[in-house]
């Protein structure tokens, strides 16, 4: 790009090339049809320009064959685009196994990120090259949108719910992080950087910034401070359901429904416990809406997740700094 005027953002994730390929295909389609229409309009307008004031060209009625042609050919083309776009979208939506997990909270007007190992960052996110990273995001206030152009990912960050997205960086470097959903006064200041590092450098960054408290450990402290343990004791007499082994397992609700305990379910059960009552329990838990920050909730979720045994741990995803993290190849 030595023209000084780049036409593409950097490609720094496994998804970037796939999105750009679809983009180039659409540009080719657009150039073809745009040129076709422009050429026909200009050619007809000049070739059949009015030559005398009272000229009356013979009328031409429509043609079913032509109408069908220019209905069915575009229809076929847009169906190809649809399938291609859907395929890319599925790849974006399907989180691969073995991700490194990072929790993100959007808040007017900053991004707060928390690593499982306890590192917390503001308007920054450090990730290693070559490792799929899953982001679990929520908002403390209004809707934000987590947008990294170099990765071609964007996800609205909605208050009151968890959303996830993922990426796998392919090139070390520093990339823009933007808030893409209008969120008020300093919307355009809600920006940051994503720093992609070689695995070894990332490992030393992790140990350099270590707080000594993993996300799950911070959650455990909160669990104790909020006295959750008085009810969620884990024995059969307890007033609240046992949390050990809960995460990722099916749960039977009092209304007969069944669901799998994921991050969103656990978060909801803390802020609004009566929304889903576990079969065999009374709706006695107070709501913690507004009493715990979204970051605190994420710590609690990480803690409850850790009670289901160690995560199947790739780099940085384990509850404590993992010696195996450096083994990942770029």
């Amino acid at each position: 790009m030595d023209t000084g005027l780049p036409l593409f953002p950097e490609q720094a994730s496994t998804m970037a090339g796939r999105v750009d390929a679809l983009y180039l295909f659409l540009i080719a389609i657009s150039v073809f049809f745009g040129t076709l229409i422009a050429t026909l309009v200009v050619t007809f307008a000049i070739r059949f320009r009015r030559r005398s004031r009272d000229e009356r060209p013979p009328p031409i009625h429509g043609s079913t064959a032509l109408e069908l042609t220019w209905t069915l050919i575009p229809l076929g083309i847009v169906m190809v685009i649809f399938l291609w776009g859907a395929e890319v979208f599925f790849a974006m939506a399907r989180v691969p196994p073995g991700t490194m997990n990072v929790y993100v909270v959007g808040k007017r007007w900053m991004w707060k990120t928390q690593h499982m190992t306890g590192q917390r960052e503001i308007n920054e996110l450090h990730v290693p090259v070559g490792v799929p990273v899953k982001l679990t995001l929520t908002s403390e206030d209004v809707i934000h949108s987590f947008f990294v152009p170099a990765f071609r990912i964007k996800k609205d960050v909605v208050p009151g719910r968890y959303v996830t997205t993922w990426f796998q960086a392919t090139r070390a470097g520093t990339y823009h992080l933007f808030c893409a959903e209008y969120c008020g006064t300093k919307h355009s200041g809600m920006i940051g950087t994503v720093t992609v590092m070689e695995p070894a450098a990332f490992q030393s960054w992790l140990s350099g910034g270590a707080t000594g408290t993993s996300l799950a450990a911070a959650g455990e402290k909160l669990f104790t401070d909020l006295a959750c343990v008085t009810c969620h004791r884990g024995d059969t007499e307890a007033r609240g359901p046992k949390l050990e082994g809960l995460f990722g397992r099916p749960v039977s609700l009092a209304n007969g429904e069944r669901l799998v305990a994921d991050e969103a379910y656990i978060r909801e059960s803390i802020v609004n416990p009566t929304a889903k009552i576990v079969a065999g329990f009374q709706p006695v838990m107070p709501a913690y809406q507004g009493l715990v920050t979204e970051e605190g909730l994420m710590q609690l979720v990480a803690y409850i997740e850790s009670l289901s045994g160690p995560a199947p741990a790739p780099a940085g995803a384990a509850a404590s700094p993992s010696p195996g993290a450096g083994e990942h190849k770029p």
Binding site: R18, Y23, R49, R50, A91, F147, Y182
Partner: protein
């Protein structure tokens, strides 16, 4: 061939006569000079005078909304937010959007040109409900007053989309006043739509069957369906925003047990069809203009007419394409993506048919035709870039960036406003009884086209590079493209000021217009310029197809 038969008479149609002989002499009394004074305008029930009242209102709103755009483009010349404060910038783009969408684009062609022309085109004396028509103008002005009140009191900063929970719980600006302004104006749309539908059903001249209607009327029929089916939804949605904001009813705010995504579903259920409210009437104008300036019946008339209805119906099924990354389910996204591709087809069909109409026509390059050709080009780019946004995997990257901004301006400015300007020039002699200066008008049309492309084409690139929309300040690498865009905007602004000047000039100094300066078909050209209050001296009877520029016996079947 059309002839004039008085009520009760049973004269057989006369044989065809050359156009110059059928032109009625200009009557001394017409709808403009029949009465003077403020009262004769503010209490009029003449659809033509009401159309001009609308013209006054929407022109004021256009220049108000445009002046906000000027400030936005000035701010974005430099990367730093240095011209206005962030709060001010956010209010500028919010008011630009609200005013241009709800108070200019939506009423523009229907309430001005549609109001003026539909009764004349179908050979009626007025709309079905003349007093309701006047009421709808007053409602529009009342809604506008609310919005200007919000503006004067300090503005509103939610974006024209009013996304929750920002609008209901966090914004400290005049959301309720602006929301009520739009709520009120919606009733004006509903009444206009109702009036058009009843008029087109009940008041067509003898012989004017559905498939003899001008395509302009078909387009307005489709638009009116959206008016009456869609507008109540935005009214309810804005009312619930007001309720949550004022009374803390938990509807959208998750802290009150609401769901912020629900708002987006309701908002786009109206606001996506609203895009077709803006573009369908412009398509109607283009059909009239292309037929007249190539002296041909529109190729595939029936298909073009039906594609308007198809757009109106399919347009209601694609709202979720604004929400691919909002948190709706993956499968919902796929369904909306598929349906969005389908709605592209009737638009493509129209473009192909207009192009085919030129083939073996008698094409002239008067100003309305320049605008129509501009429309076809810009709408094609707008439509094709819509495919980028409908492709869900690609939309993830470009949504909420300047790519979207560029795309919808190609549709709404490149499409709707080009159509509007083309229509104003085409029917200006009919409306005012005066000819505008053709040379100036052609120059202005070229300036608008060039300025428009320079303003908005760089924004496609900016968007793909990742510049988010609604950014007061931006990283330095985006500056070159932003400067290009702002330079284009200044050219575009000049292009819009020129017609304002020469059209006003022509009302007094322009040469007097004959009844049919373009030798066009259609009933509106068979009455005087300007028409008399009841439109026709005698009830017209239609005995021929639409756009019958040459005798049918010469017709060729392709």
């Amino acid at each position: 061939m059309t002839t004039h038969i008085g009520p009760g008479e049973t004269r057989p149609p006369r044989p065809p006569a050359p156009p110059s002989l059928t032109e009625p002499p200009a009557p001394r009394v017409n709808y403009l000079n029949v009465a003077y004074g403020v009262k004769s305008w503010l209490l009029t029930t003449d659809h033509k005078r009401i159309a001009l009242l609308y013209l006054a209102g929407i022109t004021m709103m256009f220049f108000l909304g445009g002046s906000f755009a000027v400030l936005i483009r000035l701010e974005l010349v430099t990367p730093a937010g240095d011209l206005v404060q962030s709060e001010t910038y956010n209010k500028l783009f919010t008011l630009h959007g609200i005013i241009m969408v709800f108070f200019f684009l939506i009423p523009s062609i229907p309430a001005f040109l549609g109001n003026f022309l539909i009764p004349i085109m179908i050979g009626a004396r007025d709309l079905a409900f003349p007093r309701l028509n006047l009421l709808s103008w007053y409602i529009y002005m009342l809604g506008g007053a609310f919005t200007i009140f919000a503006l004067v009191r300090g503005g509103v900063d939610t974006g024209w989309t009013f996304y929750t929970p920002y609008s209901t719980a966090y914004s400290n600006t005049h959301v309720i006043a602006a929301g009520l302004g739009i709520f009120i104006t919606g009733f004006s749309s509903i009444l206009t739509g109702l009036n058009f539908i009843v008029t087109i059903h009940r008041m067509r001249a003898p012989g004017l069957t559905w498939f003899r209607l001008p395509l302009f009327v078909w387009a307005h029929y489709a638009t009116s369906l959206i008016f009456i089916l869609g507008t109540p939804v935005i009214a309810i949605t804005l009312l619930t925003v007001v309720l949550e904001r004022a009374l803390h009813l938990g509807i959208y705010d998750p802290r009150l047990g609401g769901d912020p995504i629900l708002f987006q579903h309701l908002f786009w259920f109206y606001s996506h069809p609203a895009v077709y409210i803006m573009i369908l009437p412009a398509m109607g104008v283009v059909s009239e203009v292309v037929a007249c300036f190539s002296r041909k019946r529109i190729f595939g008339y029936e298909v073009v007419a039906m594609s308007s209805l198809a757009i109106a119906v399919l347009g209601f099924l694609v709202w979720g394409h604004h929400m691919f990354i909002s948190g709706q389910s993956t499968y919902a996204g796929l369904v909306f993506s598929l349906l969005s591709f389908l709605v592209a087809i009737p638009s493509a069909i129209k473009v192909f048919n207009w192009t085919a109409t030129l083939y073996k026509g008698s094409v002239s390059f008067d100003t309305p035709m320049l605008y129509a050709a501009g429309f076809i080009g810009l709408f094609t780019i707008g439509g094709l870039t819509g495919l980028f946004l409908a492709a869900v995997g690609l939309d993830v990257h470009v949504t909420d960036t300047y790519f979207v901004v560029a795309h919808f301006h190609y549709i709404m400015v490149g499409g709707a406003i080009m159509g509007y300007l083309g229509g104003i020039h085409f029917w200006w002699p009919k409306i005012t009884g005066r000819l505008y200066p053709e040379m100036w008008a052609r120059v202005a049309a070229v300036i608008v086209f060039a300025g428009f492309n320079l303003t908005f084409f760089p924004q496609f690139i900016l968007g793909y590079l990742g510049m988010p929309r609604r950014y007061h300040a931006y990283p330095e690498e985006f500056q070159v493209l932003n400067v290009m865009s702002s330079a284009g905007a200044s050219i575009l602004g000049l292009g819009y000021l020129l017609p304002m000047i020469y059209l006003v000039w022509s009302m007094r100094y322009g040469p007097r217009a004959p009844a049919n300066p373009w030798q066009a078909k259609g009933l509106e050209w068979q009455t005087a310029s300007p028409p008399i209050t009841v439109n026709f001296e005698r009830q017209p009877v239609v005995t021929e197809e639409a756009y019958e520029y040459a005798p049918e016996e010469n017709a060729k079947i392709v």
